[in-house]
Symmetry: C2
Subunit: 307 residues, 2 copies
């Protein structure tokens, strides 16, 4: 019999996960009331799991409800268990987010809305995604979905990765020192990079300067990947046509932060790809069946790489 | 030798088409300076062609630069020539338009923009297209592209057509008297219907009442398909969550028209899918090669059906 600890930020969230897990009638599974010596499995939010790690001597496997598992990667914490994160469920949501803002820009939606307020017929030609070039910083399962959406809209797709070249929807891959060549000539730069030592402030003044001034930058990965001051300077000095940020070095973004009122910047509050309990529970359920059948688990995190 | 008359609303447009046609080095083709007895082919805007029809005794084939060819369908006009319209080039642009506004709605882009103006962190859950149901009024080449985009975003797709069932991306087709069953339970209703006698005010008070009150309606086909008064009443009485109109009974929409300030209505000025000379010229060039090689022409319009 396995004993599962389910951790969520509030009882409503916990009940939502519990409902989906119980409905699956998983074999040999008992739900634990609290962190205890018998708990061998945990399914929950990384920051909450950190708090109970010392109290789980029998721990074998943790399924995170998020894609980002930074709290559990702290090198002072134990790593004597299998850590899997949530993947394969955020691609569609991220595509909706990124392409919602790209289309807002190309279709001049806000400009046309202003004309409407003045009862003004505004037949100026629309822009189009077709034929434009998008650069993806990070091409894992989310980046692959973005690449597929981009190809659906007739775009040219570049990908920058450590070394993987797995997506068939990327026209050209770049790695390592070719970051500035990757940025050169892009219409849109989109980061979905995780927070790792190698991605810290990878989007810096040099990279931003390598983008055409009419380019748009979107950060839907982690705030740590962006030098926010460099972006602020570029936007306020018209070195970049616009940006969309969903993630920040500090979240919630403090009310006095200058980013709130930067020129041509859209801010969202880490809402690009929420974890819907139904989707994330399916990841756990599939992985639990792998676990009890001694099959390899999906989405294992490498503690050293950080993803 | 064939003699082609090229008609555009202004010299700049005409030069753009001319450039692409000339670059193709088409065999046995001469460009005419004006409507004359020798002209056997016309490539241009339908309303302009109507004016020169009586002066073209040798006319054999007209390639319209638009999808909508209403002016040429007037039953008092001659029909002794082959009429082809522009198809296959608007699907991508229409998808960008429709999904730009659907994502604006689901992702709460305007609401989040308001929060940003107040430097306010706004983490409310996003909506998603995934799992929602879209109904397409008209599933020709444009509707097929919309259906494919909808499936890419994980939506359920219904199609309402006269009788065709050709798109593999439509989950369920409806015809004839099943219009209200088609509308029942839709999250989004999108019309890309052409202007024909059968589509006149097909979107009326009864159809709108059959939609759920949280539904969104988009008209990117022709204004004649919509009873504008019925839509206005539904919006202003919260019987419908919102609408997006690109086409109107009268264009330009007059400044005093009540639609400009209807509740939850977005107005664009017939800009959803412009005719880009490069795309439309390719349609003409391909068809010209069919013509001189005695092959059937693409996109022939049936004068009686109106499309």
């Amino acid at each position: 019999m396995h004993k599962l600890l389910l951790l969520s930020y509030n009882e409503k969230g916990r009940q939502a996960y519990l409902k989906h897990v119980e409905a699956a009638n998983l074999p040999e599974l008992e739900i634990a009331d609290s962190a205890s010596a018998e708990v061998d499995l945990v399914f929950g939010s990384p920051a909450l799991i950190v708090e109970v790690l010392p109290n789980l001597p029998a721990l074998k496997w943790v399924q995170a409800t998020w894609a980002g598992v930074e709290p559990l990667l702290d090198p002072t914490l134990r790593r004597d268990y299998i850590l899997t994160n949530a993947r394969g469920v955020f691609g569609g949501l991220m595509s909706e987010y990124v392409f919602g803002y790209l289309l807002l820009h190309e279709r001049k939606i806000l400009q046309r809305l202003e004309a409407q307020k003045n009862s003004q017929w505004e037949p100026s030609l629309t822009g189009t995604l077709h034929g434009k070039t998008i650069g993806l910083l990070g091409v894992g399962s989310i980046g692959t979905h973005l690449a597929e959406t981009a190809k659906h809209f007739g775009m040219i797709v570049r990908g920058y990765t450590r070394n993987s070249e797995t997506s068939p929807h990327v026209d050209r891959y770049y790695h390592g020192e070719n970051l500035l060549a990757f940025a050169n000539g892009l219409d849109f730069l989109v980061s979905v990079l995780p927070n790792t030592p190698e991605t810290t402030k990878i989007i810096d003044a040099r990279l931003i300067a390598a983008l055409p001034t009419q380019a748009i930058f979107i950060n839907a990965g982690r705030g740590s990947a962006l030098d926010e001051t460099a972006l602020l300077n570029a936007l306020n000095n018209d070195k970049l046509a616009g940006a969309v940020l969903d993630v920040f070095e500090q979240e919630p973004l403090p009310p006095e932060h200058p980013l709130w009122h930067a020129k041509n910047l859209f801010i969202t509050s880490h809402t690009a790809a929420p974890s819907f309990p139904e989707d994330i529970s399916r990841v756990f359920i599939d992985n639990y069946l792998n676990y009890v059948n001694n099959k390899p688990l999906n989405y294992q995190v490498n503690f050293d790489l950080g993803y």
